[in-house]
């Protein structure tokens, strides 16, 4: 049918030339181009333990956005200012593979922000007590290197990274370590492994702000690009706020912020079923 075809051509051109106007027309009808409502999340799928060379791994898909997290555990001397603690070292990598906007080389701004965000989530939510990672105070502790690599960047990277990290940490198995009193060396029994003690389950919910007023949940890459601001809230199961990330952008009223937080709590309840 030629009129349907012409309309299709017009829509594609319009979307390329005037993306914001195109979006506004959908928002007026309270929906988005991919068919979702303003408060609807994309389907999440998790695949756990697929990388056998890692001590723990998880692959998370949030719509098209795909993040893989691999955890490797090594020994190190505990930090001098905290001799009874171990380390958890996150690293988010946004390679040119995931999107044409990234170049190869050292981590760019967005990757650094994401790494810092994950480090904050780990610290604030106490997902793992660092004291649990200590083997011998002052001498030996575990260091968990959590490497997150984005494979496909279609918006909402922070939610996907947080979820991948949580799922991977739950999958980690550490071998039993004893300190030989005579030689003062560690002895590792690779055959006896145990899971980590995961204290809390933080879940992140991201929002994008449109035209300073409208809030949409779980933005895609295109939506993030058109948005005037973004907001990420990390909640744990007791409804406690672990982290709030709002990098500039349009301001939000207190009421809107409260609304976002309650949505984050609901989201947590739904997501928890997937991990446990």
């Amino acid at each position: 049918d030629s009129s349907v075809y012409l309309r299709y051509i017009f829509n594609t051109c319009f979307r390329t030339v005037e993306p914001l106007e195109y979006y506004r027309r959908f928002l007026k009808e309270n929906c988005r181009p991919d068919g979702r409502e303003l408060g609807e999340f994309r389907t999440t799928t998790v695949n756990i333990g697929s990388i056998s060379t890692a001590d723990g791994s998880a692959l998370v898909k949030l719509g098209n956005t795909t993040v893989i997290c691999g955890v490797k555990a090594e020994f190190a001397a505990p930090p001098t200012d905290a001799p009874d603690k171990g380390y958890v070292v996150p690293n988010v990598d946004l390679p040119p593979l995931c999107s044409s906007r990234f170049r190869s080389g050292p981590p760019g701004e967005e990757a650094q922000v994401a790494s810092q965000f994950i480090a904050d989530v780990i610290e604030n939510s106490q997902i793992i007590q660092k004291e649990d990672l200590c083997i011998s105070p002052g001498k030996l502790a575990w260091v968990l290197y959590c490497d997150l690599i984005c494979l496909d960047y279609d918006g909402n990277i922070l939610d996907a990274c947080t979820f991948a990290l949580l799922a991977a940490l739950k999958n980690v198995q550490l071998p039993e370590v004893t300190i030989n009193e005579e030689t003062a060396l560690a002895e590792v029994n690779l055959k006896k492994k145990s899971y980590l003690n995961i204290r809390t389950h933080p879940v992140a919910t991201s929002f994008a702000v449109f035209d300073d007023t409208l809030l949409i949940v779980d933005p895609t890459g295109e939506e993030e690009h058109l948005a005037t601001g973004t907001l990420t809230i990390v909640m744990d199961e007791e409804g406690k706020l672990c982290c709030l990330h709002k990098p500039g952008g349009s301001g939000l009223t207190g009421a809107k912020l409260q609304d976002c937080m309650s949505r984050a709590v609901t989201r947590h309840k739904k997501k928890k079923k997937k991990i446990l």
Partner: protein, 273 residues
């Protein structure tokens, strides 16, 4: 890393727990048919943001590859370079293929901190050399195609898998090519066995005396690339290994064809407005 302020700081030094493990029997690779190829899973067109992409899984080796471009080439005109076929654009106007090979930090037995170093660059160069003969670069004057390969898990024959995945991704992106490139790895078992093993596992590679990767363009039956190192012994032995590798590549070809056909079907079905 102490000096790198762009990443979260960890301890200055760390060691893998395997160093302190109790004495265990040395893992030795089991004897097997030297010409066996591990079953391969290939899927093209799985990333939404890349022009073309492919994922390849062979035994424990998992590689993901994405292609973007063609876009305007950066830098000045390339003066010399290999002479292209006479009827196409002169060397200075030919397109460029930029390859990037990355190993995930958790891909091997020992964690490798992100700035990969020399090995990744060498493999990226090997990728470029093997893929260039297959791509019609003369059809992309003054443009560059970017190929990024990411090794998620190293289960042996990583370069061969990356080559195959890269060629599939290029085909998926609709880049004009003369033929696909299929890669196959080989390794020479140490004395006393001294046979060449096709598609070695990581354990076999670690115990090997020499390693070889061949890249073949199956339909044209031309070798696109060859990279090997180690103590192999007689020349005939290496020639035998290359022949074995080329046979392996031919055997892999049908699987790759099927994956491209499936990807094209999926694309067709999705494009129905």
């Amino acid at each position: 890393m102490p000096g790198d302020h762009r990443r979260i700081r960890g301890p200055e030094e760390s060691q893998p727990p395997q160093l302190y493990a109790a004495e265990e029997e040395e893992e030795a690779p089991t004897a097997r048919d030297p010409t066996r190829l591990r079953p391969v899973y290939a899927r093209a067109g799985l990333l939404s943001q890349a022009k073309g992409s492919a994922y390849l899984e062979a035994g424990g080796t998992k590689v993901l590859c994405a292609v973007s471009g063609p876009r305007q080439a950066e830098g000045g005109e390339r003066g010399g370079g290999p002479a292209g076929s006479g009827s196409e654009a002169p060397a200075a106007l030919r397109g460029r293929l930029l390859c990037d090979f990355r190993r995930a930090p958790f891909a091997g037995r020992r964690r490798r901190a992100p700035p990969g170093g020399g090995e990744e660059r060498e493999l990226a160069l090997a990728l470029q050399e093997a893929l260039e003969p297959a791509v019609r670069l003369g059809r992309y004057p003054r443009a560059q195609l970017e190929v990024s390969a990411l090794l998620l898990e190293d289960g042996g024959s990583a370069l061969a898998a990356a080559l195959t995945a890269a060629a599939l991704a290029l085909a998926d992106a609709g880049v004009e090519m003369y033929d696909l490139v299929v890669g196959c790895g080989l390794s020479l078992a140490p004395e006393p066995a001294s046979t060449w093993l096709l598609d070695p596992t990581r354990l076999e590679e670690e115990h090997a005396a020499a390693g070889l990767t061949v890249a073949l363009m199956p339909v044209l039956n031309q070798v696109a690339g060859l990279l090997g190192s180690g103590e192999g012994g007689l020349i005939e032995s290496w020639a035998e290994a290359v022949r074995l590798g080329l046979e392996g590549c031919q055997r892999l070809y049908p699987v790759l064809q099927q994956s491209l056909v499936r990807a094209a079907r999926r694309r067709g079905a999705a494009a129905q407005p």
